[in-house]
């Protein structure tokens, strides 16, 4: 395959899957780096759909001011999607449709910004291009608040959601502590995390000791035992006066049934749409222990909270965007720029390329030694890993009206 010259051809960038507080930071990194190398960047509207339907946004329309705003804007500015292409054999027509769009716009570099499924799509597109002898370099760009991508030390988007989680849990804990004497004694916080308890674990950074909130964390990695849970809530309230519980949305009982399966529809990937664990647990505490309970389901707020983004996360999100362009122009086909941790303290990291084949469809579990032996909290190992990821406050600029200056392209 001929290596394309940086001075010709187009780079196509697309966002995929659940968006984050900093996926647009990555987009801004991609566009800035490409501009500095005089490479044209088209952004697909709504992820792979825009590439399939030739619905593309020419990012040269973005002014320097808009580009700076983009880096500080949550959500997915170009639109994301939950569409999973099937295997090359099953979905061949659509993969060829993609190549058609690429040919039409002289796309030589395809950057797909998403999670495991997106890495798989990028890998398949690269395979098809080789088969058709179309000169294309495909790069997966990491993103997910779930922190479950293989190979990379952490995922852009996770650090900010983790910071939101730890800060919010500490704040509501101070609230409950003040109310507990005569009112709310138990507070339940529901964290995202379908299969792995990364965000629930991040809540653990809100406290240092077993008597500091969160007093109980429920991980999807451990079977939920109602009797043991209720006994522990009672014990914490007896000892501390109040109790903050953080529950991962994906907790299951001993028979592997989701504790609060919403019984709702499944998404395009066949994942069950969850929700309601906190409401369920709050109800159990109220009914069984007779305590006043409040609960929260932050839902999208936790992954879009750009106003409390982590500086580490912001820098890493920008870096993977820039490196993705560099790898693309170097022809490092079917790779992903991943974060490698060099040291914990001082926290140092660098970006290195990793093969998409090692990342596609894989899922990184939380290490077993991150969960305390009793199953209700995090270990020193977990703190060592998590703490640098929430460090620093990457505040967005605010307008005089008190609202953050976010970019809305209205495309």
């Amino acid at each position: 395959m001929a290596r394309p010259s940086p001075s010709q051809g187009t780079l196509l960038y697309a966002q995929s899957g659940g968006v984050t507080a900093v996926i647009n930071t990555t987009a801004a990194g991609v566009i800035s780096e490409a501009r500095s190398r005089k490479v044209k960047v088209l952004a697909a509207h709504n992820g792979i759909l825009g590439a399939l339907n030739d619905d593309l946004f020419d990012t040269s329309a973005l002014t320097p001011t808009q580009l700076r705003m983009l880096a500080h804007t949550p959500g997915g500015a170009f639109g994301s999607c939950r569409v999973k292409l099937k295997s090359l054999e099953e979905d061949r027509a659509r993969y060829e449709q993609l190549l058609e769009t690429f040919r039409r716009h002289d796309v030589r570099w395809f950057l797909y910004n998403g999670g495991n499924d997106s890495a798989d799509t990028a890998l398949k597109v690269s395979q098809l291009a080789q088969e058709f002898d179309y000169p294309l370099t495909c790069i997966g760009v990491p993103k997910t608040v779930d922190n479950d991508l293989a190979v990379t030390d952490c995922c852009p988007g996770f650090g900010s959601a983790a910071k939101y989680t730890a800060v919010s849990v500490r704040e509501c804990a101070l609230d409950v502590a003040a109310m507990a004497k005569t009112s709310t004694k138990v507070f339940v916080y529901e964290a995202m995390g379908r299969h792995a308890g990364w965000l629930a674990a991040a809540a653990g950074l809100a406290g240092r000791t077993e008597d500091e909130a969160p007093h109980i964390i429920l991980f999807p990695e451990r079977a939920y035992d109602e009797a043991a849970f209720l006994a522990r809530v009672q014990a914490v309230v007896d000892r501390v006066g109040w109790c903050v519980v953080v529950a991962s949305e994906g907790i299951r009982d001993a028979e592997s049934r989701f504790v609060a399966d919403a019984g709702a529809s499944k998404d395009a990937f066949g994942h069950t749409q969850l929700g309601g664990v906190a409401a369920y647990l709050a109800g159990r505490v109220q009914q069984q222990l007779g305590m006043k309970v409040h609960w929260t389901l932050p839902d999208y707020l936790q992954r879009s909270a750009r106003h409390i983004a982590s500086q580490t996360d912001f820098e890493q999100a920008r870096a993977v965007g820039r490196k993705a362009v560099q790898y693309a122009l170097k022809g490092l086909n079917a790779t992903m720029p991943v974060i490698r941790r060099l040291s914990d303290s001082p926290y140092r990291w660098k970006i290195v390329p990793a093969p998409l084949s090692e990342i596609a469809n894989a899922e990184k579990k939380m290490p077993a030694d991150f969960i305390r032996d009793d199953g209700y909290g995090i270990t020193a190992e977990a703190r060592r890993y998590l703490q640098p990821l929430i460090r620093g406050e990457a505040y967005p600029p605010y307008a005089r009206d008190g609202m953050p200056k976010y970019l809305d392209l209205h495309i």
Copy 2:
């Protein structure tokens, strides 16, 4: 009644009712002002309970650093309570118990920091003191995220919750906009507000036009009509592609029944404990319109979110604390320092004294002209009122570990 000299006697401060992101800012204002006048401040542990049970914290133990931290800490550092004393006749023994504590500690000034109920308690205490010829000056200090206190232009605590609400709604709207093509089309945000839609109205600051989120606000001031609501959601999705709904927890149907009465216990004031409006509405949209829906219940997060506190709110919270001490030392018995708005643009305000009798047990409704004629949004009048209250970012200081430096007295 002899006016006590500022150089003798003790000032007793207590926090009451639901806490806020800035009630401790008021506490810090009280303590700083009193220190500068060499007046000793005791803080009651858990509001009026501490005063009843002689459970008091001597704030002279706070270092200057702790006092600065206090001003930046959410929750109620000395503990709050939900205890409503009855009338002087019905609860005479407890009121006399209060006077006993006052006598024991030479309390000459009593500052009660709370909402309508607390203003009523402070007023009754002042009446009893007069009856017993005990030299006491009682001051109510305003606080409530509900913004429903009479006389004052706004309530410390509300502006920060309003800013959290507007910022969060804009952030999750950007998220939904990115996902809507293939996934979530409707997002429902549940705002606090049992009887008045102040916080739901504040969400309106997230957008400017009917096509910007929030597209639909449901106020407790307007009867909830399900058919009309669902038709509007469908119309917004057809026009915009997605829809963000903000619902006040206290919305009622045409028969004045709470749309989502949790059917749970009533609190000490006889208020029904609500919750679940967003879950209910999300279910209706999913079932009736067949759209994928996400929803959030921020609950305590919205009132404890010190990390996104409004600078206006912070300054007003501190000012009412300082003025409360000044009014107390001047002997302005049975008054409250309230906020008077001098102009909208530029926004100017000052603190003036108002009689507790005009505030106790009263409830300020939202002006009718704050709600748009169609009932689903806010007017220019509402924006004019609300906008200055969310202005400025009063960030707390952060430690190197990425967490805010909040004070936890562990009392």
